[in-house]
Homo-oligomer: 346 residues x 4
């Protein structure tokens, strides 16, 4: 049962899923549009966190279609925005410009959709060894000591990833950690489009159903900023979400009095952000989609899970262009980190 | 409209889609189980080919879960079976043991799920240059002249792939061609599990909606054996197929008198090959899935296509383990080709 | 015997090797320093070509340490210079701005130091298919039809590379060809530092001792611009060249009256471009290096070849940083080609 | 000065270099020929270790040309021999069959000739997490708990590699460590041919001139088995060694009364293992190679170093076939480790 509960790495999906429990207006919540990116910030306190099964903290979400669109100009703007949001989270956590940072890239370098973290590590600018061994080679005004590691995944190391990270942090004693990871989305819309930054901590491997030790301020004693981007989604999600979209699509068409031929309207040629208001009334939904249309998201996902899993078909999938997606994503995250941590970089 | 018609690279899917038009018993059709693989052979004549939009020829389908299961022992059996089926197709086309073969690997080496063809080319044993330049180094009894090429994709070469292949064949004059390509499936079940061999020819790039020049005996004047494996599937297919499976799953449960709680039965714990007989009667389907449940596959896919496409969500996806999948698939295809073409290879 | 004759892909090395036969002042020869690059241009006529075993044509050599130094600012200047030199060679050969170009990347994508050509092909901007299939998508004022291919190497295709290229050119009928290849140097100094452009044609594979069919205006009937960069050097060359450098180094020190301790002077701390004038007189050379010091380059190389080859030690080597070298080299060549062929590219 | 002293990662080279100080017959030394591999074992005590600048311990050297020859049958034998030698070193250090092992792969995954260690880590069979989380899935009779890590290099992590390893060992507390690393050879003959196993410990990065913290039983308190294979060599070494070989080659020819034409004999067509006995007498050497011929290896290398370094030419190089070399080497080392640590593996 708990295998199929709505589990997600994205706060925005957790909040959507628990729409009944928490109303957005109870939360400290802002939303703005910056250079074509939608930027959401929400602060989850301990109480709300317990209700939705998330750790307390600040969560920032940057939404952009630039990676899927291969829009290189927009990608430049995103990396700057990532730098700004990292900077805000570090400042909120009293991190000063000369404090020592460690970047941790989670994931498996040999599984392309899971290789975001290790790829970022290859591109971040590390300086801690220079400060120690060649202090004359680096300007402490524009740079700070930064180190990095890609601890691998348990399937390749045989060790809990959190153990490796924790033991190295214990030894190296950085002042803060930035953790980068590829996530699983509960929506096809969010694959490669949502960048979540947070200071609430992370469970390495939690996104694919493993319970591992936590990496957070509570466990490590230093601020932990996480940067996560969904790169995979499962077949249950794709189906459940599409059924919802069909219902809203038709509701939207009916409301807008478009002639429809049997079920299908003459199509909505442009992208529409469907909302709950687009769900038609119960009789229409039952007519269109029967009892399944009336199920909650959770019930529907459980049903689809029960159908697909015995067939071995509830697979995690990633878009066909996974190779260039990871190149672009790792580049903007690494650049964002470099810009945030070193004021004098280019 | 025609963008969304049921288009597939697999004969088995074409036949399923046109269930009403052609009955399997009209066709020369055999099915056997060999070492855990289901092997289907069907001969399509010109008339049937026109009806289902496929070229005439022999189509063999090997079904196996060995790649998804990482079952290395089973993979060894599959590569032998691929060799047997290639051999049969060559023999049927009067290809003798000393005739000259050319292997063509279609696809894009930089897009992992599309790199099956180029990966196979790296692993096939080429000998044509040895026969010409160092005949003393090779035994003509156990080996034949084989050459190979990976022509790339039009997006990288700016040239129709069929033009490149045709011009090299014109010059090199092999006696037969084996073409390897990654396909798009119309069923999640078939991704990385179905290996189709045929002598009916291929349109490079046809699987992703491009109409290109044909590679076939008709156009090249020599036998063309194709080996295709679906490695991607689109979101429309996943959703449409899953809706069908839910309907059959429930029908199957009802027929088997399993108690059901609301809609969902206590689940079918084992893999079931659902069939048309599992579809419950119309009233039940309408009850469960409304009018959408009563739509034909084609109507349903058109509807889903109309909903997903304007949202930019009708993406082609591939399982997360794409890297090892392609390694395993290219290995068994290359080994199968090597075993078929060179009798004395280990 | 002829296996060890001084064979080189670089005109500048051929001319050095045959210093006695041709004097530079007999040739049309210019040398300039542009933005820190040394640019040499020499025009070889048929007569001179016969004497030094090279095809007639214009040869341009750009010398730079930017790749070995990872000097990214300088790399930007080199790619512009490559564009300028390509443009000059095309103009000299009456190629107009709307003529159709084909880029050919020679070499083996799976052997890093030999993968320059295929890597360039992945980065050139191809447009021929757009002109034909989507003419509305491309501005014929700023762009021209360009296509590209990476034909592979004979060891992987079983076909003479020149045959593949020739047959595709025959079919596609471009107006000119640009061929990119990794070369073997006859000097460690030139590895990754010398970029040779020429309109004299090329023999695919000639650099590693294979005699293959020629790609040139004479054989293809269209202008052929080649871009070659040495990425490997053999152990014979390293040793022979170093012995020469030791002799000149000591001669240079003696001339400059530096105190020497036994043989070795207190070192030349800065880079010196040794010349023939640095060779000390025969008695000194004999004293230092015995009869071997008096041998000609050719004799010395033959001797070293005879010693190393039976031991299996005359290997081709490449600097340890081969991976980043090829990334940088392929990037500047691809960008240079793009800038030369498409006037409106960024 | 000390930059150019004879520094090597291979005990066999250290002993050769200090031929005057230690005579092999003072040492516990055995040499045997097993399946075409030459296997050398030498035990260095503290006193000898101080004299040659090496740590005390057992050093085993396996010599084979199988990698350079691509001899796959021989490679199978080597991996078994590696397993045998690991087993002996573990037994000598009182490691029992159920003790917990950690494999550490040193080096940089993005620099092919330095990627031996990380490549091995990808192929070793890790089981520690299975013993802890799924003990039912693994047979403790045939398998032991094994974990693995690839800590990266200081240039990418900004942290001393030994610090990372030490902190993880501190936490995980394995009973022994196996460290795999690519080395620098002081002889072209040894590149990709010599596999050194030892229990004397290692300094990460020592092979390329960096002094780092030591990984040894003394520092980690558990046995450390190292497996090192030279994959690079510098230009100074190539030249110095070749000059020596020329001298011995000629001495060998003179001794064998072969007619010689000028300096060069009619060549030694077969591979000869030259020895010190092949050095001709001083007058002959002076005649051939002048004063340079009479220099010691160390003097000669210092001279060549002084000549090449200011020119930026004392590069580390690797054979052109570096990609397949690393594939083959990492495969035999990983298989050797797997066979040694898990009795029931295939």
């Amino acid at each position: 049962m708990d295998k199929i509960k709505v589990r997600t790495d994205l706060i925005i999906e957790s909040l959507e899923a628990s729409g009944d429990t928490i109303h957005m207006n109870e939360l400290q919540h802002t939303e703005e549009l910056v250079h074509g990116m939608k930027i959401n910030q929400v602060i989850i306190n301990d109480e709300h966190g317990r209700e939705i099964g998330k750790r307390a903290g600040t969560y920032v979400t940057i939404d952009t279609s630039a990676v899927n669109d291969h829009d290189h100009e927009q990608l430049l703007k995103i990396q700057k925005q990532i730098a700004i949001e990292i900077d805000k989270l570090l400042t909120k956590n009293q991190i000063t410009e000369d404090s020592v940072g460690m970047i941790v890239g989670l994931g498996n370098d040999n599984v392309t959709p899971d290789s975001l973290g290790p790829n970022v590590i290859e591109q971040v600018f590390v300086t801690k060894h220079l400060f120690e061994l060649h202090p004359e080679s680096i300007d402490p005004k524009g740079f700070r000591p930064v180190c990095a590691m890609a601890p691998g995944v348990m399937g390749m190391t045989g060790i809990e990833t959190a153990e490796i990270i924790d033991s190295v942090i214990d030894r190296i004693k950085p002042d803060f950690v930035i953790v980068v990871d590829a996530l699983a989305a509960k929506s096809i819309k969010r694959v490669n489009t949502t960048i979540q930054l947070s200071d609430a901590g992370i469970n390495p491997g939690s996104g694919v159903g493993n319970k591992r030790k936590e990496l957070s301020k509570a466990t490590l004693d230093i601020p932990v900023v996480t940067i996560g981007i969904p790169t995979v989604v499962d077949a249950v999600t794709i189906t459940s979400e599409t059924i919802d979209m069909i219902i809203k699509h038709i509701g939207h068409s009916l409301k807008n009095n478009r002639p429809s031929n049997r079920l299908v309207t003459s199509a909505t040629p442009n992208k529409v952000d469907f909302s709950e208001q687009d769900v038609p009334d119960e009789n229409v939904v039952r007519d269109l989609f029967g009892n399944i249309g009336l199920m909650s998201v959770e019930e529907k996902e459980r049903l689809i899970f029960e159908v697909l899993t015995p067939q071995g078909l509830n697979m995690m999938v990633t878009p066909k262009e996974v190779d260039t997606n990871i190149v672009d994503l790792s580049h903007i995250v690494a650049r964002g980190i470099n810009l945030a941590l070193h004021k004098n970089i280019n």
